[in-house]
Subunit: 142 residues, 2 copies
C-alpha cells in the first residue's frame, strides 16, 4: 500500500508527550487513546491534515469500527487521502486516480500497437520461411 | 474526471423539496445553501456517505473555499471518495490507486517485453536481408 509509515508504530502511553492528535485537540492522551498508536507526537502535520479533511470524530469512528490489525493501514490511507486533498483541493485522491487511468489507457494503446508490430513481423517472417522453401532458398531459421 | 454527475445541476431554491443535505441534517434549505447545487434531493445516499466520511461542516468549508466554477468538480470528487471509503473502509480511494499503480507497472513490464521482441525481430530481419544479399537469395522486401 502507498502509505505504511506508522502501522507498526509501537505506542507507549508512558511517554511524557501526548500524541499528535491529543496535542492538537488539547486533550489528555490516555492509555486507550484511539489516535496515539497511529499519530505519534512527531506526526502533527499528518494529523492536522486528517483532522481538517475528515474531522477528528469521524476518524475516531472509522478506526473504532475496524479490528486492531487493520487500524494501522486505515490510518495510513486516511493520512494519504487527507494529504492529497490538502495539495489538490478540487480533486484530492480522485485526481491521482484519473491520471493513473489515463496512464493505463495510454500504455494499453502502446502495448496494442507493439503487439500489432510483432504480428506484422510474424507474418513477414512466416512469408520469408514460405518463400524460402518454395523457391529452394535458404531456410528462415537464423 | 471520474465523477461528473452533478456539476452542471441547476439549482432552483423555489423547489418545494429541500436538498439531500438539508433533508438529512433536518434544516431549512435556504437559497444560499452551499450543498443544494451539488446534492439535489435525489442524491440522499451520496450525501449520507459524504457526511459520514467527511462530516457536513468540513464539506461546507471545502466547498466554500473554492471558486464557484470548481465547486461542482470538488463535490463530485468528494462523493467518489466517500463512496470508495464506504465500500472499502481500510483503504478507500488509496486501494484503487494501489491497484492502478500495479496495473501500470504490469503494463510497463509487458510493453518492455514487447519492445524487446520487436528489437529481436528487427535484428532477425536485418540478418535475413544481409543473408539474402550475401548469398544471392531473394531480397527481404515482401
Amino acid at each position: 500500500m502507498a502509505a505504511s509509515r506508522s502501522s507498526s508504530t509501537s505506542f507507549s502511553n508512558a511517554s511524557t508527550s501526548p500524541c499528535a492528535a491529543c496535542k492538537l485537540l488539547r486533550r489528555t492522551c490516555n492509555s486507550d487513546c484511539v489516535f496515539a498508536p497511529y499519530f505519534p507526537d512527531d506526526q502533527s502535520q499528518q494529523f492536522a491534515n486528517v483532522e481538517k479533511i475528515f474531522g477528528a470524530s469521524n476518524v475516531a469512528n472509522m478506526l473504532n469500527d475496524l479490528p486492531i490489525h487493520q487500524k494501522g493501514d486505515a490510518a495510513n490511507s486516511l493520512i494519504f487521502e487527507a494529504d492529497a486533498r490538502v495539495k489538490e483541493p478540487i480533486y484530492g485522491c480522485v485526481g491521482a486516480i484519473s491520471r493513473l487511468q489515463l496512464e493505463v489507457a495510454q500504455l494499453q494503446k502502446e502495448l496494442c500497437s507493439a503487439h500489432t508490430g510483432i504480428d506484422r513481423y510474424g507474418v513477414y517472417t512466416a512469408g520469408q520461411e514460405y518463400k524460402g522453401s518454395a523457391y529452394g532458398g535458404a531456410s528462415a531459421s537464423f
